[in-house]
C-alpha cells in the first residue's frame, strides 16, 4: 500500500461524494470548523478529524443500531490488548502507564470512518476514495491496513515458497467468511478474538469434515484433537520477535521490531474449551518481550510469563493437500514440526510451558 502525500489524504477530486446522501449534513455538519473563511487555520478551528470516533459519533444519527453493536466490537474496543496486557500485569489504572498504552497501542482501534472512509490510523490515515463512504470496504486499504503484516501475506501467498490460501485463489475474500457481526460486533463485549466460538468455523462450510460426519478417514481418526489448520496450513507463516517501544529525541513514539521469521510449529492448545477443544493447534511467536516497555521503566509487565509468547494462531494459508498431511509419516514422528523445548528461548520457557509439546506423536 503506497503511502499518500499529505494533500492526497484530504483531496476530494470528484463530486461523487458531494452529491451523496452522506454529504447531507455537509462538511461542517459532521466535522465542525468555521464557514466563510479561506484562511486555513481559521477555517479549521474546532475541526474534528474523525467525527465517528466516539461510538459511531455522527454515523449513529442514521445507523444507530450498527453504531450500538460496533461499540462492542473488538475492532472498536481493542479488548484483546487490555485482556492480554492485563494478564501480563500491565497496570491500566496507573495514569502514566495508561498514557503509554494510549501512545503506543491504540492506533489499531478502528472507527466507522477508519473502515468506511479512510485508511486506518495505524496505516497513517488518508481518504481511500475521495471521502466516498464505502459499504464494502477496500480489502487492500482497509483490511490489510491493519492485517497486512502477517495474515495478509500468508492469505495472498506472499510468503516465499508458501502457496496462498485456497479460498483466496478461488476468489473468496475476507467478507465471504467473516460476516458482519465480526466487524460490527454482535452486542457482546468479547475479551479477545478467541473468546467464544470460532468465527468463522471451517465446519460452517465444510460440515462433513467434522469427526464422524464424513468419509475422510483422517478427519474421523483425529477427531477433535487437531485444529483444522494443523493439517491444512500450507506451510510456514510469520513469527515476530523483540518489539520495543519508546520516544525518540523529538518526543515521537517509535517501535523497533526484529525482522520476522517464517516458522511452522504445532503446539499444545493452551486453553482448550468446548468451543476450541483441540489438543494441538498452530502457534506463532509474538513480539512481546518482558521489557517491551523497558524505555519507560523496569518490570512494567510483572506477570509477563503468565501468557505464552508462542501464541495460538489462526493461520490463513489453507490448502487441501499440504506437506504434513500428504502422508501420516509426514507428521507423525517429526519433532521439527512441533514446538519443543529446544525451540523456545530459555528466558521464555516458563511462559510457554502450556504450549510446548513434550511427546511427539508417533
Amino acid at each position: 500500500m503506497p503511502p499518500l502525500e499529505a494533500w492526497e489524504k484530504v483531496f476530494i477530486g470528484s463530486d461523487t461524494f458531494l452529491k451523496d446522501v452522506h454529504n447531507t449534513p455537509n462538511c461542517i455538519g459532521c466535522h465542525g470548523g468555521q464557514p466563510g473563511t479561506d484562511d486555513k487555520v481559521a477555517a479549521h478551528k474546532g475541526v474534528v478529524r474523525d467525527p465517528s470516533a466516539d461510538k459511531g459519533g455522527v454515523c449513529a444519527n442514521c445507523h444507530g443500531e450498527i453504531a450500538k453493536t460496533s461499540a462492542t466490537s473488538l475492532h472498536y474496543t481493542i479488548n484483546g490488548y487490555y485482556t492480554i496486557l492485563g494478564q501480563r500485569g500491565f497496570d491500566f489504572n496507573d495514569p502514566k502507564k495508561a498514557e503509554i498504552f494510549d501512545r503506543h497501542c491504540t492506533s489499531c482501534h478502528a472507527t466507522c470512518g477508519q473502515c468506511h472512509i479512510s485508511r486506518p490510523t495505524s496505516a497513517d490515515g488518508g481518504l481511500v476514495k475521495e471521502h466516498q463512504v464505502k459499504s464494502i470496504v477496500s480489502l487492500s486499504d482497509t483490511c490489510l491496513g491493519c492485517h497486512g503484516g502477517r495474515v495478509g501475506p500468508e492469505f495472498m501467498g506472499k510468503n516465499p515458497g508458501v502457496p496462498g490460501d485456497v479460498h483466496w485463489t478461488k476468489g473468496i475474500n475476507c467478507f465471504k467468511c467473516h460476516n458482519m457481526t465480526q466487524f460490527h460486533g454482535d452486542g457482546t463485549l468479547y475479551a479477545h478474538r478467541y473468546d467464544g466460538k470460532p468465527a468463522p468455523s471451517c465446519l460452517d462450510c465444510h460440515p462433513d469434515a467434522a469427526p464422524g460426519k464424513g468419509q475422510v478417514m483422517q478427519h474421523n481418526i483425529h477427531g477433535d484433537k487437531l485444529d483444522c489448520r494443523v493439517c491444512h496450513s500450507a506451510g510456514a507463516y510469520k513469527s515476530c520477535w523483540n518489539c520495543h517501544v519508546g520516544l525518540d529525541k523529538e518526543g515521537l513514539p517509535y517501535r523497533k521490531l526484529d525482522p520476522s521469521v517464517l516458522t511452522f510449529k504445532i503446539g499444545k492448545n493452551p486453553n482448550p474449551t468446548p468451543d476450541r477443544p483441540w489438543e494441538y493447534v498452530l502457534v506463532r511467536h509474538i513480539p512481546v518481550p518482558a521489557d517491551i516497555f523497558g524505555y519507560y521503566g523496569d518490570n512494567m509487565l510483572p506477570n509477563w510469563a503468565s501468557v505464552p509468547t508462542w501464541k495460538y494462531a489462526t493461520v490463513h494459508n489453507i490448502q487441501k493437500i499440504t506437506p504434513q498431511n500428504k502422508d501420516c509419516k509426514n507428521c507423525h514422528g517429526h519433532p521439527e514440526l512441533f514446538l519443543t523445548e529446544k525451540d523456545v528461548d530459555p528466558a521464555e520457557l516458563e511462559a510457554n510451558r502450556a504450549v510446548i509439546v513434550t511427546e511427539i506423536p508417533k
Binding site: 455538519g29 470548523g33 442514521c62 453493536t69 458482519m180 515521537l252
Partner: protein, 100 residues
C-alpha cells in the same frame, strides 16, 4: 287541568316501569360455568436463539441548520490549493524499525 296532566304523566311512567320490570324478570339468566382450574401444562421453553443481527433502520437525520461549507469544498476539491497549503506533520519517529 294541570293536576290531571301531572297525574297522567305519573301514571304513564309507573306503567312503563312495571312493564320493564316484568321483562327483566322474564329474561333467562345466562348460564355460567364455575371456573375450573386449568391443568398445569409444561410450556416448553424454546431454546435460546441467536438474536438476529440488528437491522440497519435508517432514521432520517433531523435537519439542523448548518452553515454553508462552500469554503471547505472550494479548498478540498482543489489539488493545487491543497498541495500549496499542505504541511507534512511527523506522526511517527524515524527510529521506527521493522514490520507492523
Amino acid at each position: 287541568m294541570k293536576t290531571r296532566t301531572i297525574a297522567w304523566v305519573v301514571g304513564l311512567i309507573g306503567i312503563t316501569v312495571l312493564i320493564l320490570a316484568a321483562c327483566g324478570a322474564a329474561a333467562t339468566p345466562t348460564p355460567t360455568t364455575a371456573p375450573t382450574k386449568a391443568p398445569p401444562t409444561n410450556t416448553p421453553v424454546p431454546p435460546p436463539t441467536n438474536t438476529p443481527a440488528p437491522t440497519n433502520t435508517p432514521v432520517p437525520p433531523t435537519p439542523t441548520p448548518v452553515p454553508s461549507a462552500d469554503n471547505c469544498v472550494a479548498c478540498h476539491t482543489s489539488a493545487e490549493t491543497l498541495q500549496k497549503l499542505a504541511e507534512t506533520k511527523k506522526t511517527g519517529s524515524a527510529e521506527t524499525e521493522g514490520e507492523g
